[in-house]
Symmetry: C2
Subunit: 329 residues, 2 copies
């Protein structure tokens, strides 16, 4: 029993190999009856188009590279899923690459993807803009949660949501608030910090800018320690993971949340609901982020000349158990 190719199918059908090929790739160009016959015998013979051969012939691999800075960051798996689902709809396979938290590795990994994929989706990459652009070369690429001029991107705008949560804190009586900063090479960290700063000025509250801290549980514990040395009664953590660390450290020190301190996260990862108290945070529209990214990549591939589009999707504020009235003095 031989490998089944378009040739064996063609022979079995009494047509030429091109007809078989067309039956699969350009069904409209083939007589209905013939096409059906081809498809049937192909199915029956267990024919599966050889992706590699197709790729050599067309120059398209049918694969997209998805590069993530750190797959263990709980924000990413749902995003990976979203991208995967959207890509699947476009008949794309996803080549996942994890930079293992190493910003320097990103460029190298992107490089390795060259020639293996039709396009790139980069989820909140940490590499510097020039390194990024050089690694990407002329491969169509889309960024998620980061903007770099000249590259298409889709980001979650957390500014509005954060400011809404801020207003809530204000109403709850908080007058001094801490900003627990995230990694300096994180674009999102910059955006979020700016948003909180902006809100603080408008709201007239005292803002204690602390950090940068590691975007991790331990970083959060560290941040809580610093926060307790200020007069802040509430804190915006860079993300939910850090916020969880803050909660843990506060609990360890018998500082009641939300009784004595309020804590706000960002991203709304699965864990945000699981901790006690549950985290007030900003929900990112993960599915849409993935969908739009794939969509933009489609365009970037089909119309390489088109101007890079920078899209923004709003985050949604969610108030849960970790925010409450400021303690009375």
């Amino acid at each position: 029993m031989q490998r089944v190719t378009i040739y064996s199918v063609a022979q079995a059908c009494g047509v030429s190999s091109s007809t078989v090929s067309r039956a699969f790739t350009r069904p409209d160009l083939v007589n209905d009856e013939v096409r059906q016959r081809v498809l049937d015998t192909a199915a029956q013979m267990g024919y599966r188009p050889n992706r590699s051969a197709r790729a050599t012939a067309t120059g398209r691999t049918g694969m997209v590279g998805l590069v993530v800075p750190d797959i263990t960051n709980p924000f990413l798996p749902p995003l990976v899923r979203a991208v995967q689902r959207a890509a699947g709809l476009a008949e794309w396979s996803v080549l996942l690459v994890d930079a293992e938290g190493n910003a320097a590795a990103e460029a190298r990994l992107i490089n390795q993807l060259q020639g293996q994929v039709d396009g790139l989706i980069l989820a909140s990459p940490r590499a510097r803009p020039d390194a990024l652009r050089e690694a990407i070369r002329d491969l169509p690429a889309v960024l998620i949660n980061r903007e770099v001029s000249g590259l298409p991107s889709v980001v979650c705008d957390t500014a509005q949501a954060l400011s809404k949560i801020g207003d809530q804190l204000l109403q709850l009586g908080h007058r001094e608030v801490a900003l627990l900063g995230g990694p300096v090479d994180s674009w999102a960290a910059g955006q979020r910090a700016a948003a909180v700063r902006n809100w603080a000025v408008g709201a007239g509250v005292v803002l204690d800018e602390l950090g940068p801290f590691d975007a991790s549980f331990e970083g959060g514990r560290d941040a809580a320690d610093h926060m307790l040395r200020t007069g802040a009664t509430a804190a915006f953590a860079f993300d939910d993971v850090m916020a969880c660390g803050v909660l843990a450290e506060l609990a360890a020190r018998d500082v009641a949340v939300p009784g004595q301190r309020s804590v706000v996260g960002c991203d709304d990862v699965l864990m945000a609901r699981m901790v006690t108290p549950s985290l007030s945070t900003v929900t990112a529209p993960t599915d849409q982020l993935g969908g739009v990214a794939v969509d933009l990549l489609h365009r970037a591939i089909d119309t390489p000349s088109a101007r890079a589009e920078a899209r923004t999707l709003p985050g949604r504020p969610v108030l849960r158990g970790s925010t409450g009235p400021a303690p009375s003095r």
Copy 2:
């Protein structure tokens, strides 16, 4: 400026295309000096071997499919990373496929991978054995955390670790213990249940078998509810996620952990350290699981005739804050 191929490099070097090809794939077959010259000009011209063309010629894609049942399960991302790292060492790219928690989708997805990859790594697949075997067909495949006769596999043995934790509970005075069962189609759930049962018989403790529950936070809350209706002072949850749900529900009902109830998880996911109290659990040797899986796949590909090997790696018990002395009556 044209695409650079072995031909352009060959021309620039004054050698034949086969020599260029060899310089990359069989360097030993080429004169040292010539090879160096070829490699240098290739690098300088920015030559990158075309994976697809190579694949059509050799019949090897240089890719492995990694199928996971649910990428949002926190146990998996570290495993994905481990597999990816090991695969990278073998010059393999990883095509990640997420079944989105849908057992039925697994077989379909595996099927789609046919012809696209050289082999398959299936992380704790849920599909039934026959469906699995049929989907795999004659693609080399390795299972992680599941055993199916005839297929190579590497699993984490949690039995010893669970029994050790059980012994600890015994010493702490627990005499009635609950087993919060996981999904029935999970092989690991079966193994863990058997381990706990076994230990319980040997230790002479009363075992309340409850469930099956959903392997989720909500499933854990549900399980806690059931547990509280028994006399159990300690519980083995199917996994850490479920255990977190148990902790949350107990906290919500003001049942102190570990004061009134002890809780044991399994897997030692990141979250296990983050919850309060931190979870006593079983640490899986994730990196090794990934490494061995890739190793086994290597063999399965190189020696298709070889007998399927079923390897076992021990889990390690970790006692943290969620286990303590049984409450005195």
